[in-house]
Subunit: 135 residues, 2 copies
Amino acid sequence: MTHKINHIAIVVPNLNEALGFWRDALALDLERTEENPGENVNIAFMEVGGTHIELLEPTDSNSGIGKYMEKRGPGLHHICLEVDDIEATMQRLRDHHIELINEAPKTRSEDGVRYAFVHPRSTFGVLVELYELPH
Amino acid sequence: MTHKINHIAIVVPNLNEALGFWRDALALDLERTEENPGENVNIAFMEVGGTHIELLEPTDSNSGIGKYMEKRGPGLHHICLEVDDIEATMQRLRDHHIELINEAPKTRSEDGVRYAFVHPRSTFGVLVELYELPH
């Protein structure tokens, strides 16, 4: 069961300039910013109607997000769907011949969120992330 | 005041094949499909947690969406934010030097929704639509 859109991730060249649109002009609530040296990104989290908008600023052009921005330019990057049971959802996707990037869910150490990505080859170009929140 | 994400629009080469992922594999609820010959698209509407996912299949490669797909490929196309007062939001954006595609809101005849697009030049590549629902 897929019950909400957890977040929409957007690649931006510069977090402060992008906040000039999302936070200042559009007046969305900035929840927090975070440095993630492991993934080579700085992130700003905003919230609108229960869904988060995540702005991702690559800090290294050789990282995954950095290479994405070099190739595709900034813009919409992925959407993340919250599911009740990530393993059941992944099995269902496999049964429908959908290719997964992660064969098993990963677990984020800070908050226990389990996540996996679906390959855009199977979704006509949309990178889809699945989240299972801790129960 | 921006209070929710109304929809996320995704360009797909073929509606039925894309529904194989979104409806069949992911088990999202298909609300309806619609032919829109004016915009040269067929559309499938799904719902997840109060936000709609709209799949847009261009029916003419010379239309706006058709040209987009030729140039950028299929994938995430735009996000639409619901606002209370679209004219106030547009004025606020102008005050922050944000470029709008539509200088005044348009009104959709079927349901009275007022809408306008923000230019992706001002948002680092994200096409943002604003919706004001009828009060």
